[in-house]
Assembly symmetry: C2
Homo-oligomer: 299 residues x 2
Amino acid sequence: MSSKGTVAVVGIGRMGANIARRLREIGYDVTAVYDVESGVAQVVAAELGASAAQTLSGVTASADTILTVVSDDAAMLAIFSETGDSLLDGANGKLFVNCATLSPGIHVEVERRAEARGASSLEACMASSIPQARAGTLYLMAGGRPETYERALPMLEGMSTALRYIGPAGSAAQVKALVNMVMNSNTAALAEGLGLGDALGLDLGMLREVFAQTGANSRVLETDGADMQAREHDVYFSAAHAAKDSGIALELAREHGLELPVAAATKAQYDRMIALGLGELDKSGVAELTFPGRATSRL
Amino acid sequence: MSSKGTVAVVGIGRMGANIARRLREIGYDVTAVYDVESGVAQVVAAELGASAAQTLSGVTASADTILTVVSDDAAMLAIFSETGDSLLDGANGKLFVNCATLSPGIHVEVERRAEARGASSLEACMASSIPQARAGTLYLMAGGRPETYERALPMLEGMSTALRYIGPAGSAAQVKALVNMVMNSNTAALAEGLGLGDALGLDLGMLREVFAQTGANSRVLETDGADMQAREHDVYFSAAHAAKDSGIALELAREHGLELPVAAATKAQYDRMIALGLGELDKSGVAELTFPGRATSRL
């Protein structure tokens, strides 16, 4: 199979590694991987037949497209630093595809820095998780210039079965912040309904069935309802992450003069989980705060 | 067609009248109707070939089963008064089927009063609206003694295509309060997501599509999302009703020592609608509080 193109991956956590595996599988030449934890990068590099790059400029030199999946805003600004070792070195003509969930303004700034060096930058915001990354079935929302989106499209279509162009850089991050803000509120509300049902001595299996058949139905009822009942909070999307994303959305609201009291009450619940040492539970763990006797029994 | 039995209906609002139409259509002999607004009762009585009863004792005398659909707790206690004109007069052997949404304790009290007179009482709590009442496709949750449920079952099956026995008297009202509490919170959360999306200049049709495909999806997104965007708040389930039902649930929580901050923040939003004179909008009208510039423009 002839190569579909060269790609390097920065940030080899579980998402980054699985995207790299997928791209290699469908015919991309994965030239280099890079991670601040160089041991992790070496293991994945060996598996994929890529080099474990020692410098960011080396990553950029190795491929036409550089895909980034870092953990937060600060890490993103660091790899696109305007001084020192940076992905921007020798970036003329390169395409950056940025998959981390970041504050919207960071995508605008990275696009500005990339274009100043003659490169292109696209945000490709993911609303799904590890298995979808490996299978190439991510839900992806893109933000950036239309022509940059067109350039990235063949690769994005290899990563995603649900791809959507949202608008300019940062707009996909805005949409994801809104999705997660509403999801978090629905989750906290569901935990309250089930917790009160438990206090009333109702059969919670029955109650979840009634919720599913009525106006109380929601996606989080499907994904988190049984886990709340069973206290199974293995992390899929952590409470700390929920607090962060609701916080990004509330900051956007503040900037626009909007008050969102339900989102604020929800964020306070996730902040309370963090304060109680429960921040690394799954977001379904908010039920530990609303079921009678639970929060104290866990501590 | 031979009669399936005699039934009288107390409370001839749109729900009560449509249940009466349905029961007549499927072979029940609707003997009498009663309403505090006697003019309304006379019109429906004439349509159905029933009598417009002048007294509550006359209602009870007219039928084996008396179906009640009144507006609130006080009206329910009034028609089951232990003094003066009352459905309890001559109630020995009668079956009361009570469809209003009430505080759970009221159903317990009505059952007690009915049984003291040798009658049976069942709560039949509705989680759907006018068209379903007319078509016999209500979502019905029953609370009361199992033998009373069995006795009422043929009639309930004529009213409902989704019938569920919950438990003792009052338990169906508890479940409905929980359904509506969660539904109201999801509604207020959705209004915040769409309102912030509007402030950010996002395409709200696109945003609703993304919500529908992700963890933000919910039944209220389907029923209320487009209405929030279009400001179409013709009442189906009023903001005042939402405040009342969330209030019932929060009172149950208080009695059990639970704090439910998201439900409390939601109730405060619906209370704010009432204070702004918006209580008779549909619950989707909570978007008037969260979209930039709306609440003030409406006043």
